[in-house]
Amino acid sequence: MMRVFVSSDAAALAMGADGVVRVLRATAETRKITLEIVRTGSRGMHWLEPLVEVETASGRVGYGPVKASEVPALIDAGMLEGEAHPLCIGVVDQHPWMKRQTRITFVRCGIVDPLSADDYAKLGGFEGLKRAREVGAAATIEAITKSGLRGRGGAGFPAGIKWKTAADAKADRRYVVCNADEGDSGTFADRMIMEGDPLSLIEGMAIAAFAIGASKGYVYARSEYPQANATFAKALDVARAAKLIGTTFDIELRIGAGAYVCGEETALLESLEGKRGQVRAKPPLPAHEGLFGKPTIVNNVLTLCTAPWIMAHGADMYASIGFGRSRGTMPIQLAGNVKHAGLFEAPFGMTLGQIVDEIGGGTMTGRPVRAVQCGGPLGAYFPRALFDTPYDYEAFAARDGLIGHGGIVVFDDTVDMAAQARFAMEFCAIESCGKCTPCRIGSTRGVEVIDRIVAGEKREMNLALLEDLCRTLKLGSLCALGGFTPYPVMSAVRHFPEDFKARSSSAL
């Protein structure tokens, strides 16, 4: 029987993957071809979605992007036998964009059947948890610490230290909370894993629970991801049937309600408790007093998904990859106006320019790249002049930038950086939890000040006022929503001052 693989990743669905599958089925039926169609996650080459992969003796051969209407002609041309065609990209694993990657967190994504425990096991699944149980809880925490794994949610805090803190806290009950709120624009790695390899997240949470002694886990996901949530809910059933969870540890999926700030870990805990998503003051740390006052580790999806690999392959193996204090790999997400948009997992240390120009292939529109925003809506805009910055937490911080959750949004030379700065302030105003005055009110003032600058009203004075406002936001905010909004704003002002000149009213 012939086997064909088509992604059901939301990005593939958004480009018409379901239509392709429908025509594949119908065509196979009329031609009496027995065909097994496996719905996988995405390989990450989103510019090629919908990508159809067919199993051949030399590996999975890919065709993309495929339109539903082209399917019969592709079958005529020998697609099911892996024949050459203008849409054929050859053996997918051998594709230069794939070969250049180091896939650890995403090692199975796009390959495995996301809802098959057997398939997961065949591709190395369950090994990490097994190993953790063999070495014991303390050695598991030690391995995570030694691997150098840092939180992938944005702050880059060492995962092992967080786990140890929670494990050492005296309590009758502890929680593992997975932060799947992925609110940063330009990021989709959490979504891809939840759709493409959800069992790895469940295994990662089971390892964390074993390490700290937790009996209950929550995944806090976003309402903007209906497909991911549906897949993950099914994966929880699969995991229970496979006894991965449901005995000493169980996981519940909770859905947020459209508040960006609920990605902040303490606001997330408030939300899980059924309250307004307002940020808590620290201390106490969640690892001491978290959910319902109990020791809780809050970790990003990618952090947890990487734990099984580390346990299975050894901390040293993971730590041997990377750059400076950024160990291991980062699933980099290329988005916006970029030719090769998608997910590219690589060791830390490539330069921003290599990532944008070589991997991303420049802009989709073919115009010059003018700015890239790294690390989500609270991250700085980088001009080409800073493209020599290595992809590393510390190197980015040294340039007032953020790696954050690994998103890179590319803009061509038609971008209006004053409009981008204005949006950063507007976003802060919309999403503020309301606790701090600079964030709640200063952000709206920021929008007004930028409007006045580009209108040419007392430009110098208003630019000084904007800088002052940003300083107040930085100093007077409890969390990074207010505290980091100055980064996109001030980076736009510093690196692109020409966009903050007065305009004629017709240009506004």
């Binding site: 330009g186 508040a259 988005a335």
Partner: protein, 150 residues
Amino acid sequence: MDTDRVKAICAAHAGLEGPLLPILHAVQAAFGCVPKDAIPVIAHELNLSRAEVYGVVSFYHDFREAPAGRCILKICRAEACQAVGGAELAATVLRHFAIDWKETSADGRVTIEPVYCLGLCSVAPAALVDGEPHGRIDPVHLIAMAERKL
């Protein structure tokens, strides 16, 4: 509003820790919104004050006070979509239906809500049409899709 139905939803979630958000989602799924009259019922069932429940409902962007139109368009307003013309796209669609963000067209057919990233940033600009993802959208197709649903 059917008070018993709200009570039944609360009862169905009684076993959960911190059940308020799941209850509000279930109420909105049942009624198309979180009706004002449901708030005292939920408050009573969970032993909370009305102000507490109202405070939660009003905090989250997802919960509506009135039912939406028959088709819900969630159009992404965030940066990756902006980079490929998302703002112009949204403006065109809003103009076509003669509404602003979070409004429903006069004939009750379409509600347009802003979202800040759908995780479809690699196939931007993006939107959800009644929960279905669409990428690389242009205004003509998006409007056609919404109208086809009507």
